[in-house]
Point group: C2
Chain length 541, copies 2
């Protein structure tokens, strides 16, 4: 059986455009002699349209797209993800449904269509609906009532969807017991560091334990907070990887299941992996939202330099503008470094001073104290300048905040947090350094090595306001990534006053995080939609 | 049976403080001769701590609070909501749980404890876990395996939790069939317009159809985006309201179930109801977050006047500061109206001109065009001034945006959207007018009657930039509250170009809504956590 893996990059909600891409891949697969073409989970509507799915017209548009795709399956078999609806909710009626102005009265499924010769040969609904992290599928979908297998091109296949493969003693085992020789799993699996290797281990385990092959087909592309990294693959029934599609790249990839020979697992350096993810995330966010250029404040520091470099690779240097906005506290060194960064990357460079504005504003405000109040004014003036320049050029602003800063609120809301997207919001400061080193001579060495400073007062350094990052980052990682308690942090050897200070900063800055632009997820626990915290909260542990 | 209804206002995550309030109410109930005291859903931890519940220490803190409460139940029966955990997930194991750094491995329940004479006499878990609108309970909780009834003070009672009462042929019917004479429903039911009357109809239906009485105990208080309005009540087994606790007010309210006589249902004017909800929402947001004063920009227009009036009633006039920030386009009329509003409400009033700042900024920006780019600068300068003044006074900023503006993005991000809370974010412009009229002479008549303007260019009026609000609001209501499609809007008689314009504005401004402060929900479909939309989205219907 020759299989085409349609690793496509859909645009959420653009069903017609997505169907066009799917039809193109089917035509290509036919020309390549494929018997079967497989597309990812929700390929027709993108992952995930959220509450849009409750609009009856949305489901109808998905069905029209499926009608077009079905017509194109004469002489070929296609598996493709979409949503389906049933008129009434199964078994449960609620008093006064009219007051719930959303989909409580509709029963949606996350479905894999099996299309063949112009007809629907099967519809497989997702069984296990994840509701942790960024997932919220029980809000929308009802689970499948059971599992089944299908004859496809002379073999018996078990089709299942994303999470279904991850459940031990789940659909895969049942499908194997029903005679499946191959499991076709269609996924929309977003990236975090290490995830590609975890997926391989998962498929190898399922294959070896059940004597089935696994065709794993993943989505590719950026959608707001997450990036789907593609990297579809095939593991044969003896548990060996026999095909590996590229990461972060759209395309149709063909493989003969009966002829495929073992291939080595890709090495997967996590730093370059993250760079590629962020680059795709920026590109897709900007272009899918109808923009083609970006700008950002270049401070001469490492965070903005890294964001500029990522944007340059994502969109091309001619579309990126870096603006250095000196205040009375900015050093010559910062100007040199900002300019050298722009030159190294080949992007546009502007200087717009905020010093006079800062003076005028100080004079306008009655009894303005110094200190933090005055320090916050400067990034906010820069925010205004950036937004004015962006409005003028129909460009998007990229925000430079990193995860360490965001975790402790070391940023000025409406100031350096301004932007449509925060590309490195899920990178701790040490990740930022590692990633920046990849750019070699395109970013000046001094940008990487000098002590971080916000330059909001004379001779300021981050490590006067915060614990040094090599102390702070391990505490934050334990607190955020593993949910460590105060007691556990102290038991790990961190000083109690330090732990209390970090915990306090972490909790009281929830209000800032609520108003941030989306960041791009690269860890299992990113700020944003996958982490839901109350602002008003008396808990400190 | 004499029942005390402990209509308390918990602080999310402050288990010790909440337990103190519960212990105080138990002592009061004992003094009042109650046999039973009932507290709302999740009274111990507040509704809802979201991902905090996944911290093992959080559950342990709830258990310690329950231990203290249990000790206080000698000679009295207490029903109180909290969370409980079981060590392992029931039935489902997932590959590589370690990569899910949250509660996927823990099984939590939303539980009603039945405590009596110092022991736990029962634990009832919630059966129906809502996942629509603001609710996300399947993310956290597992459902009860079944329903049961309990002997309480000589009667047979069915305890159930919030949504359980709303399900037709659900726990209430089963409990009635098991012999329940009274249903004790503990709820955390947030307000929207009309909800109190819907709850009455629900309880009357359950009582009449099953021959059971219903004791409905609701939470009170504001939590970020929502306000729980209290209004607990009792319906007797023949379906008549026999007790009604006050709305938006904390307290212990006692009722003799056997002696209670029918009382009239409260009239419930929706406009004053909404005013009271917003007032409580502001008060709780500000005080529970450790602040005692607020400030806001007073433009002389109706939105900021209403927010100032609500804040005044919430916190007292001495804690509210209104700042008029004229630009070169501000009229004398606006100054007079801003000042008269502040005087009418008795709040502090300041004037800080942004005209000179605006000039300086225009000069600093290269080739700044006029039009929208220049118009956006003015609210952003005002945002800086407000934040500086707020930082200086340890005050919170209130944002004046209404639902009509937010729906079509008629606002400047980082400008008039700046704030910790947007109290009227869920009021359409016509709601704003109705509510403002309640304040009589405290708000100048002209503020209500003059045509709305943003005053960002000479002689600007909102209805030059937007359809007039009496045209816009009905379209927005259909689009947002009922999910109407383009075709449905046109069928209702709205002109096609108008419909297309409003739909376009509505969708392309999702990025702004993502960065807004929390608003206070007063409709079934508020922007914010109960409405989840992708930013990147190709759908326009």
């Amino acid at each position: 059986m020759r299989v085409g893996i349609g690793q496509i990059n859909p645009h959420v909600g653009a069903m017609q455009k997505n169907a066009d891409a799917i039809l193109g891949a089917i035509a290509e697969a036919r020309a390549e002699g494929c018997d079967l073409v497989v597309f990812p989970e929700l390929a027709v509507c993108g992952y995930i349209p959220l509450d849009l799915m409750w609009k009856p017209g949305f489901v109808a548009a998905c069905e029209r797209a499926i009608d077009r795709i079905r017509e194109a399956t004469r002489g070929i078999t296609v598996i493709v993800g979409s949503i389906t609806s049933q008129p009434a909710q199964e078994g449960i009626n609620r008093f006064d449904l009219s007051s719930i102005s959303d989909g409580a009265a509709t029963c949606l499924h996350n479905t894999a269509y099996l299309l063949k010769d112009g007809v629907t040969a099967g519809m497989v609904h997702k069984t296990h609906l994840p509701c942790y992290d960024i997932y919220n599928e029980k809000r929308y979908f009802s689970p499948a009532p059971g599992v089944e297998v299908h004859p496809i091109c002379g073999t018996t296949c078990g089709i299942n969807i994303c999470e279904d493969l991850w459940i031990d003693d789940g659909p895969t085992e049942l499908q194997a017991s029903l005679g499946a020789e191959w499991i076709i799993n269609i996924s929309a699996s977003p990236y975090y560091t290490g995830k590609p290797a975890i997926r391989h281990r998962l498929a190898v385990k399922r294959a070896s334990q059940n004597g089935v092959g696994v065709v794993y087909v993943n989505l590719v592309g950026g959608q707001d907070d997450v990036v789907f990294d593609g990297g579809s693959f095939v593991v044969n029934p003896d548990g060996r990887l026999v095909f590996q599609a590229p990461r972060v790249k759209e395309g149709l990839f063909c493989v003969d299941l009966d002829l495929a020979k073992p291939v080595p697992a890709p090495a997967g350096d996590p730093v370059t992996e993250v760079r590629d993810i962020l680059t795709l995330g920026i590109r897709d966010y900007v272009t899918k939202n109808g923009f083609s250029s970006v700008l950002l404040g270049l401070s001469g520091g490492i965070d903005s330099a890294l964001v500029a470099a990522l944007a340059t690779d994502a969109l091309g240097p001619e579309t990126v503008t870096g603006i250095f906005m000196p205040s009375m506290f900015s050093s010559d060194e910062s100007r040199e470094d900002a300019r050298a960064t722009a030159e190294g990357l080949g992007i546009h460079y502007l200087e717009i001073s905020i010093a006079e504005l800062h003076e005028t504003l100080r004079a306008a405000l009655p009894q303005l104290p110094g200190g933090l109040v005055d320090e916050n004014i400067q990034p906010r003036l820069r925010g205004i300048v950036l937004m004015a320049m962006a409005n003028q050029r129909h460009a998007l602003v990229l925000a430079p905040g990193n995860k360490s800063e965001i975790a402790v609120g070391y940023s000025t809301l409406y100031g350096d947090t301004v932007g449509a997207l925060a590309p490195i919001a899920d990178l701790y400061k040490d990740d930022v350094v590692r990633l920046t080193r990849l750019y070699g001579s395109r970013i000046p060495q001094r940008v990487i090595t000098k002590p971080p400073t916000a330059e909001l007062r004379p001779d300021q350094r981050d490590d006067e306001d915060l614990p040094p990052y090599d102390v702070l980052d391990p505490i934050l990682r334990a607190l955020i990534e593993t949910g460590a308690s105060r007691q556990q942090l102290v038991a790990r050897g961190f000083a109690e006053p330090l732990v209390d200070d970090v915990i306090r900063r972490y909790y009281v800055n929830e209000y800032k995080r609520r108003q941030l632009p989306p960041g791009i997820k690269i860890t299992p626990k990113a700020f944003g939609i996958g982490r839901r915290m109350p602002i008003t909260n008396g808990y400190r542990d």
